[in-house]
Structure formats: C-alpha cells, structure tokens
C-alpha cells in the first residue's frame, strides 16, 4: 500500500503532545497571518520557521520533502501562469499579448511561498496529530461524532484511492494500453480510469458502511449508553500557555500590520 498520502508521523514530541484544539486554533491564525503579510521575505521566514518547528519536533526530512513533491505541480503552475495575470509594473519581456513584469514575477513568488506556508501549516497539524485525536478535537469543538468520523475516514482512505488509481493504470498497461497522442487524447484515455476509481471508491464506501454498521455505529446499544472515549482530550497547562502565546503573537502581528502598512 502506498503511503504517499498518509500524513501522521508517529513520534514523541512537544508538538505531538500539544492538544489538537490548540493546533487547530494555531492553524486558523496561521492562515490569517499568511494572508496578512504581503511580503516574500515574511512568507519565506514563516516557511523557514515551520520547517525548523517540524524538524525540532522530530518530523523527518523525508516527510517534508514528500510535501514539497506533492505541492510541486501547483507551485510550478503558479510560477508559470500567475505573472501573466498581473502584467503591471516594469516590463521584463513581452511575447505577443503576454507581458512579463517585475511586479507580476514578485506576485507569483509571493503566491507560491504563501501556498507552501499554508501547506506546511496544515502539515504541522497532520504530521503530528493522529486521526483519532483530530476527530476527538472536532467532537469537543461541538461537531457531531459522525462528521468527525467522516473527516477522519476521508483522510484514512485517500491513500487507498490513490493506490486504486495506480492499480487500475497498471492493470490496463499490462493488457496493452499505451499512453500516446496529444494531451487531449491522453486525457480522454484517462477518463475510464477515473470512472473505475470512482466506482472502486463507491464500492469501498459500501463495504465500509457494512463494517461500521456491523460494529454498532448506527444501532443503539443494549444499555442505550452514549459513546465513550478511551483517550479523551484534556487541556494541560502547557496547552493553555501555547494557546495564549500564539494568540498574543497573532495580535502583535495584526497590530504591527495595521499600524505600519496603513
């Protein structure tokens, strides 16, 4: 089974121990901060900080590299296309109707680093939080258990769906399918694979429905007792300190931004 989309890295670290609700709060503030700071240097510093944070919390280089690889296509698309959508400022080169400008290029680099910052903020949550704790965090924040479970199962089955795609492609290649022709033709040839993956995913979800029902998700218990939690979440002192710390840091950045950038 491919694990390319499996995020959680089992380790003992401060970030792993941090209450997932605090991590979720940090993620929300991180998103807003990424959008508040329109400077490449600031985004670069955030990105570097996130790398250091993850490495310090024993997330291996391999995991970080994998995230870069998964984001690579998006980053390349942003860097190639974005400059031409904002063609203002000093011109560098013009090809037909397309103008490449300094502002356009800077905007593309800013957008690309911002995308990576967001990816690494989400990564910081998913690399260090197992799905069970994540579901429990959502439940404790007021979401119904089944919503949290659905989110967790979606994460859980992403690798299986990815593997399904690879398996179907291999099965077709082994029976003589060769990718050839122009991009449009290749895309058309991929359609049956996508259909097969969708059907496969639906079958997987059918079997999962049976498995969940067989283990009592949808049925009342004899004693009609509510669902319990083996390892429930508890906010410790260090969680509260972190919560207050990141909130103050966020307020400081917001204040600085509103005062100095008018």
């Amino acid at each position: 089974m491919s694990v390319a989309l499996e995020f959680y890295v089992h380790r003992e670290s401060w970030l792993h121990r941090l209450d997932p609700r605090v991590k979720l709060w940090g993620m929300v503030l991180g998103f807003i901060t990424a959008f508040l700071l329109p400077y490449v240097a600031a985004q670069g510093a955030l990105l570097l900080g996130l790398h250091l944070l993850l490495l310090a919390n024993r997330i291996p280089w391999n995991a970080l590299r994998r995230l870069w690889r998964q984001m690579a296509l998006l980053i390349v698309l942003i860097l190639v296309l974005q400059p031409f959508f904002a063609p203002s400022g000093t011109e560098i080169v013009t090809v037909g109707p397309l103008r490449l400008t300094v502002d356009g290029l800077t905007g593309a680099v800013l957008l690309a680093t911002r995308a990576m910052v967001i990816a690494f903020i989400v990564g910081a949550l998913l690399f260090t939080t197992d799905q069970r704790a994540l579901v429990q965090a959502f439940v404790r924040l007021g979401l119904p258990y089944t919503w949290g479970l659905t989110f967790s199962l979606t994460l859980r089955f992403l690798p299986a769906i990815q593997q399904l795609f690879v398996t179907v492609r291999e099965a077709q290649a082994a029976r003589g399918w060769v990718a050839e022709g122009n991009l449009f033709r290749r895309f058309r040839e991929y359609l049956p694979v996508l259909v097969a993956v969708i059907i496969g995913t639906l079958r997987m979800s059918d079997r999962l429905t049976l498995a969940l029902a067989a283990r009592g998700l949808a049925t009342p218990t004899c004693a009609t007792a509510p669902r319990t939690v083996w390892h429930d979440l508890h906010m410790r002192r260090s969680d509260w300190i972190t919560f207050i710390g990141i909130t103050l840091a966020f307020l400081a950045i917001s204040f600085w931004r509103s005062v100095f950038s008018g």
Partner: protein, 483 residues
Amino acid sequence: MLVAEHLKFAYPPSGPGLPQTEALRDVNFRLEIGEVLAVMGASGSGKSTLCHVLAGLAPRYTGGYVSGAAHAAGYDVLEAMPPAGVVGLLLQDAATQLFNPTVEDEVAWGLEALGTPPPRIGALVEEALARFGLLSMRTRSPWALSGGQQKRLALAAVWAMRPRVLLLDEPLGGLDPQGRTEVLAALETLHHSGVTLLLTTFHPQAAALAPATLVLSDGAATSPIPTAGVLQDETRLVEAGILYPPHLWPSLEAHATPAAVPAIAVQDVHFAYTDGHAALHGVSLEILQGQFVAIVGPNGAGKSTLLRHFNGLLRPMHGTVRVHGKDVAGRTTGNLARDVGFLFQRPEQQLFAATVHEEVAFGVRALHLANADTRVQQALARFGLTAFAQTPPSILSYGIQRAITLAALATLDTPILVLDEPAVGLDGREKARLLMWLAERRAAGVTLVIVTHEMELAAHADHVVALANGCVVADGSPDEVLG
C-alpha cells in the same frame, strides 16, 4: 441462540429487464448457546449473504428481498437491527473492516461505541490483543499488517465487544499458508470461549473446528450434518465446487523439452522502492522458452517485485531484464503486453470496465489483435463467464472476479504468462478451471512463471526458484528446492 427457518434471500436485478438473483433458498438450522456450525460452499453459493442476513445487515444495507425467519440471541434480525455488540461479524475482506490509525484504536473503537467506561476499555483492549497475539504490534497501522494479522485484528476487534453470536465469513479467505495457520490458531481459542459461532468456509481445516456442517450449493442448503462425514465425502465436496484435491489435477507436464533459448533473462537486478526499502539485491536467473518456473519464498521476499520487472511495471536500478533477448529498458509495459501476459494479485482492485465483456475485451482492443470477438467469446465460455457477460464486474464474487482477470489474460494468447498467486482464494471449481487452462497453455509451449505459496502447485514446475530477503537462495528442480 441462532436460528434460520425457511430463510430465503434474493438480490434486486442488476439492470432493467434482468431477473432477481436468488442467493439463499430455504436455509434451516438451529444453534444453541456455545454451539459451532460450519457452512461450506463454493464461491457465490450464498455464504456471505447468509452472514449479512443473520447480522441484520441484509437487506437493510444491501437491498434485496428476504422471507422466512432469522433470530440471533433472541432478536428477530429481519424485523430490526440487533443492538450493537450482540452479533459480531467478521467480513470476508478484513482490510476494509479496519479504519482506525492503530491496532489498539481499532479494538477500542467498538468498545467506545458500546459506551464502555474508559477505564475498562484499556483492560479489554489488552485482553483482546493478548488473545489474538497482537500485543507486540499495538501501535502499528492496521494497513501495514500482513493478511493474516489483519484478519486476527478484525477478529480481536469484534471479539472485544463480547458478542453473544459471532459470524465469521471466510476467515481463511485470501490468505497464504502462513496467514491461514495464524488465523486457525486464533479460531481455536474462540472455539473454546463459549460464544455461539457460525463460520463460512471452503477450507476443510476451518470446517473441522465445528462438529456440524451445513453445505450450501447455489443458495440451497443441506441440514447440518456431522463435519467428519462431510469432510470424508470427497466426491460431494468436489461436486459442490468446494474442493479440487491434487490427485484430480490435470498433468502440468510439458509436451516437449523446453528450448534452450531464454524467454526471460534477469542479470544482477537491484531494486529499491522510493521509501528506501530495498526489495531486490542482485537477482540473476534465466527462464527458458516453454519452461514452467515456480517462484517461492516467504512474504516480503521480493517475489512480486521481481515479477513486476518482467513486464516493465518496475525498472531495475541496476542490472538488466531481457524478454525474448530484448532489453525491456526501451519498451513500455503496454508494448510488452504482446509478449508477457501478467496476472496481478487482488483481482477486485483491477477491474475497471462497465461489464464483464468490456473488461475481457480491453486488452484485445488495446493491442488491435485479430479475431477479437471470437477470442473474447471463447475466453468467456472457458472461464464460465458467458452468463455474466453484461454484468458489472464490481458486483461479482472474488472467485468470479479472478476468473474475469484470467479470461482477460487468455484473450491475449501471449507466449509468456507471469502469474502472481493465481490460486489464492479460489474454491475447487475455480481452481479446476485455472489448472485446466494452465495445462492447455503448457501443452501449447507457453512459458509459465508462477509465484505461489502452494507447494502442491510448485511441485509441478520444471524449475523452482526460492527467494528470501530479495536474493535467490535456491534454484533447481522441485525435489532439490522443496525437498
């Protein structure tokens, strides 16, 4: 405790104008507390349907029509779903039953659903893991486990909920011999735990755990009869498509001496996966045209990895693979499909077409082979699929899905056949079809390369190659290698 009276079940038609599919016809039995019943039947005989009906899942979650009566632990399961934890069900495909991040979380999930007080959950999880030999892997991901370990975990998760009735659907299904041994040992412990147990199987070893057995054949059931008598009646088991003992197998001998020309030549092949796991370390071997070579070895030895080099699905990091004298480095997998027919494990994951006919015809069309229609019709007939030609492959049983992948392979008529565990999970009837086809291919001079855990099959090969830890550790005649 577990009762079926005149139980009948039919699935809704799979398309407009098509008839319902009768899955169970008049099943009757009565099990008292602590009794064990085996249900033997070939693939598609209605075993899974029976389990789903008794667990209250069918027709509730599957659709279909039911009549008669079914009671489990005093609950009318046709009337309402029994309360959580009363009836435990082990699904045939254990991997899909597992959805938690770690082994211990998997066991705890059902206990949480029952509302068990958290301090008790730890002790119950511990007990279940210990009982099924899983304590050492409690923090591992369920998906990283072997097939046998996954079945044991699914069993532990169900058993931890202390069901009064336990239904096990093909507990040995799809497992290699090592996995079967592990699960059989786990079933032994259940057998003596006092739970009322019904298990479906086509493996005599599993049926032997029950004093009584009911034989299902196309949905029709016998009354429970002593298991010893059932297992001794080989003719009956063969006729019901359950067994195909080696003494009935066709000859897999070659009709001519293999030519001294290599069909596949592997020279010093090294391979590592992107996660850094090195799977092959300098493998060299030569497979002659017309030869039957069996590749054996424990799980993780690199057998499937090696096989995937023969049709270009994987490329060596070092070394060469030649097919009919040509280096595969310059050829795509699609291109190699003219020379190498490849059968994957887990047929259910590779079926992608809307109908069985489309699925079987895919390769013939992709390779633009002559007489496409005739090839497809012959392959459908040969593997007993003509009646299913317009059915979506995804709704058929494991054995029939395996037959579809074999039929798809047969249409290509390649000079080399590379088969990865072709016999795993097949009942007697399906195994007979497979072996008859292999015997015919052998007679036609086709080169056969088969990865197998079944020593009876490996013993028929001209040559056996044993792999361990990514290296060839033995290479010789079956007598020399298998002893």
